[in-house]
């Protein structure tokens, strides 16, 4: 191969930036990813969601079972036993709440919004008949009076909304469901300001979940209940629910979720710490997950048909916090948690209440997000320093693996112990890019040195031949000849 003066210049044009600059660029990519993750609400970023799901569902210890939470479920058996379709009639709900009140639970959280009055056509017909009976004068006779009294009593018994309000007021503290009307929940009639009671003393504008308006159960039920809480979930773009919104901002006011409203009712003396916890991560911290079937269940059919003095019911419900919701096939929301599919929404509210009162909340925004950026920067800076000191690519690789393992261990420990979720991938990406860049720089350096040697041989061919002869054994092997021949030919 002929050497030409232009060749070194062409190689200079293809040369990469200096190794330090290239490694810096790789580190910048990693830090930029961490910054983007922090700016978009904190870890897990959209690239590491599946990794996060695997970690929290398989590696983090599950939430231990709670002895005082129980689910009263409208399951397939309850529907079959009652002979009703969903939604259940108000009179059935009234019976259910009466039966619950008889067991004296500590609180009842209802994962249902009774946003419309029950049907009244039959009642109105009955009222018209009663009115006609009275106008006819038949009620002046004993038989007519008895008939009117019976009709009135039966009409009263069948007024489901009124009976449900009575049953709810009998309970110690019933918290009804409500709905923040976000873009995906536009079908309910919004309530006017103040209809849900007193808003929370939280910075509403800073909350992660924002809505235009809020809807709730009909006024008599709201009046009879202890309070209302929103049932909304925060669903990520991939359809998985990782965060629970303890509060929702509606036109500058903050309203509690079902879990927070129930917790405030159960522990009024701890209202301030509960509100502070609920405000973590802009009001929607990441959830610690329980094992499947974590919540003890009682079928509504058993509640309605068992003897109220049943010891089993008493053990299951007395003094407990009861969550009421539907779990029948096809009726409950197909909520997907990390590692669990088709979880009934009512169970998620129960998890959230347990997380809130025990303080097992995971946070990833604010200071934690800043810590994630700094930690990523520190890992990549440390690797950049190691790269400068390492003499071989193998040493650089060992440093990269060591730092990646340390970073992963730190992220795992922070997530499992204090519950701080730091981004994992940005450091990995930064380390990988820096490693590749460093390897490329070292390869280029090797190539440059090889070229310099080659040019040296061109300039001093005799010296190279002498050197070659001195290094050549007396009886060279065929393979050695073959190896050296091209060099001689080229020369």
């Amino acid at each position: 191969m002929d050497s030409s003066p232009a060749e070194p210049h062409r190689r200079d044009g293809l040369r990469l930036p200096s190794p330090a600059v290239a490694r810096g660029l790789g580190a910048c990519v990693g830090v930029a990813l961490a910054v983007v993750t922090a700016a978009t609400g904190g870890a897990p970023g959209f690239l590491e969601r599946s990794l996060y799901d695997q970690a929290v569902s398989r590696l983090l210890p599950a939430v231990p079972p709670s002895a005082d939470l129980v689910l009263v479920e409208v399951d397939d058996r309850a529907l079959a036993t009652l002979g009703e379709r969903w939604p259940l009639s108000r009179t059935t709900w009234a019976r259910a709440f009466q039966a619950l009140a008889a067991q004296r639970p500590a609180a009842v959280a209802v994962d249902v919004v009774f946003d419309q009055p029950g049907p009244r056509d039959a009642l109105e017909l009955g009222e018209d008949i009663l009115e006609a009976l009275r106008r006819s004068g038949l009620t002046e006779q004993p038989a007519g009076e008895a008939l009117a009294a019976e009709l009135e009593a039966r009409l009263r018994a069948r007024d489901g909304d009124a009976r449900l309000a009575e049953a709810i007021s009998e309970g110690h503290g019933v918290v009804l469901g409500a709905a923040a009307l976000t873009d995906d929940v536009p079908v309910m009639a919004p309530l006017e300001d103040g209809a849900l009671g007193t808003p929370l003393a939280l910075p509403a504008r800073a909350l992660r979940l924002q809505a235009q308006e809020v809807a709730g159960s009909i006024a008599p039920l709201r009046m009879a209940a202890r309070g209302s809480g929103t049932l909304n979930m925060l669903v990520d773009g991939d359809g998985v629910i990782r965060r629970y919104p303890y509060a929702v901002g509606v036109s500058g006011q903050a309203w509690p979720s079902l879990a927070l409203a129930t917790a405030l009712q159960l522990m009024p003396e701890r209202a301030e710490p509960l509100r502070e916890r609920a405000a973590v991560d802009h009001g929607a911290p990441l959830m610690r997950l329980p094992a499947p079937n974590w919540l003890p269940r009682v079928s509504l059919a058993d509640l309605l048909h068992a003897d109220p003095r049943s010891v089993g019911l008493d053990l299951a419900l007395r003094g407990k916090t009861v969550f009421v919701g539907v779990t029948a096939t096809g009726l409950h929301g197909q909520s997907t948690l990390p590692g669990q599919v088709a979880v009934p929404g009512v169970e998620i509210h129960a998890f959230a209440l347990d997380n809130l009162r025990s303080g097992r909340l995971m946070r990833s925004s604010g200071r934690v997000a800043l810590l994630g950026v700094l930690e990523t920067a520190a890992v990549l800076a440390a690797f950049a320093w190691c790269c400068r000191r390492a003499r071989t690519s193998g040493a650089v690789l060992r440093w990269a693996v060591t730092l990646a393992v340390l970073h992963t261990a730190l992220v795992a420990w922070l997530a499992s112990d204090p519950g701080w979720v730091l981004p994992l991938l940005p450091s990995w990406v930064g380390l990988t890019l820096m490693l590749v860049v460093d390897a490329a720089s070292r390869a280029q350096e090797m190539g440059r040195q090889r070229g310099a040697l080659r040019r040296l041989f061109i300039r001093y061919p005799q010296a190279s031949i002498v050197d070659a002869n001195q290094n050549t054994p007396a009886q060279p092997s065929t393979s050695d000849k073959a190896t050296s021949t091209p060099r001689g030919t080229n020369q």
Binding site: L123, D159, S169, L191, E192, A219
Partner: protein, 382 residues
């Protein structure tokens, strides 16, 4: 010579003297002007008033009375007893017993003992309008004999009549987003309001007496918005217009923006913005005529005064009289009072205090009301 005709008596709502300190119906709750004690003469008077208000609203299907007492009293059974007693007062005042229920829920710690009332409306009959603002005597009911006083926030249903008394005004927010301002001495029947796909809507109002000013919301293709009088129909093709039904049977239309078709006696004229037309009984609509322009106000243009200042404006050619409106809010929705005068100034009668907004409209010899002037304000600080 200044001729002043007092067309509207000041509408000071005596809220504090009302049986409940004021009563509003909001999202299924009855909101009282003051907390309602569990029992007592005032409570009974308020409950009787509530019963009348409930009977005046046929859409209300049931009422729930809640007695919120401290837990010690509630668990003693006194809460439910108080609620049942209040329910009995409602029944005695005419509310069917089958529609009244009583509950005694737990109360919030620290809150005083009180009665709360909630109601359920018939779901199958959606409200077609809501009373957004009212000043003076505003009544509604199924027939003219059943009219009862209504307050801001009340829902109105198809077929209901709305009447404004002397000096009264009401502003209705229709279900399609339109607003209708019913001026004093008017009677309007709410017809059907249907909302269909693609913003298509059908709105019918019957103006039996008086005058309405309508700001029609934009509707999709094929939409119908009609204001009917005895002799004519004003069909909206624009956005803002007034319709008046005079006592002699004449229907008068004034279009402020857009286009409105006035039909009578199988004839129709299209009245564009800035024009008016009328249809006398048995006659087709007259050709459109230009409306008088907005008067130029002289003053006061603001500032504080120890007494009510005299308001004045420049004379407008063609104006026979001027209509002066004074209101508490700049949108002329609250406490609106209307005066008529033939001169270009007016000493606004009555003692008053605080900030007031005023504007003037010129009225020609045939009663056509022109464009409203700019809105100025004055502040009375005795």
């Amino acid at each position: 010579m200044m001729a002043v005709v007092l067309a509207g008596a000041p509408a000071f709502a005596a809220q504090a003297q009302a049986p409940c300190g004021g009563l509003r119906f909001e999202s299924g709750r009855m909101v009282f002007g003051r907390p309602l004690a569990p029992q007592g003469a005032e409570t009974d008077a308020c409950l009787a008033h509530v019963a009348q208000a409930v009977l005046a609203r046929p859409a209300i299907r049931s009422v729930t009375v809640a007695a919120k007492l401290p837990d010690a009293d509630r668990l003693d059974g006194r809460g439910l007893a108080a609620a049942k007693r209040a329910a009995d007062v409602l029944v005695a005042a005419g509310v069917p017993r089958t529609r009244v229920s009583a509950v005694a829920p737990s109360s919030v710690e620290g809150e005083p003992a009180q009665l709360q009332l909630a109601y359920v409306e018939r779901p199958a009959q959606p409200a077609v309008a809501r009373l957004r603002a009212a000043s003076g005597a505003v009544e509604a009911g199924a027939t003219e004999a059943q009219l009862l006083a209504r307050t801001v926030g009340d829902s109105l249903y198809p077929g209901e009549l709305l009447r404004t008394g002397a000096g009264a005004q009401a502003e209705l927010a229709l279900a399609d987003g339109s607003t209708v301002r019913v001026v004093e001495n008017s009677l309007v029947k709410l017809g059907a309001i249907e909302l269909m796909a693609n913003l298509q809507r059908k709105v019918q109002l019957d103006l039996l007496r008086g005058s309405v000013e309508t700001n029609a919301a934009p509707g999709g293709a094929g939409s119908i918005f009609e204001v009917r009088t005895r002799g004519a129909v004003a069909g909206v093709r624009g956005t803002r217009f007034r319709v008046a039904a005079q006592d002699d049977g004449t229907s008068r239309l004034e279009t402020l923006e857009g286009k409105v078709a006035l039909s009578a006696e199988q004839a129709e004229v299209e009245v564009s913005g800035g024009h008016g037309s009328r249809a006398k009984p048995g006659s087709p609509p007259e050709p459109p005529r230009p409306l008088l322009s907005a008067p130029t106000l002289v003053g006061p243009r603001g500032g504080a005064f120890a007494t009510v200042p005299k308001v004045s404006w420049r004379t407008l050619e063609g104006a026979a009289t001027y209509r002066v409106e004074v209101a508490r809010t700049a949108d002329f929705a609250a406490e609106v009072q209307t005066y008529a005068t033939a001169s270009a100034e007016l000493a606004i009668p009555g003692p008053r205090q605080g900030k007031w907004f005023w504007r003037v409209m010129a009225v020609d010899g045939d009663g056509f009301v022109g464009f409203p002037s700019k809105i100025y304000a004055f502040d009375v600080q005795p």
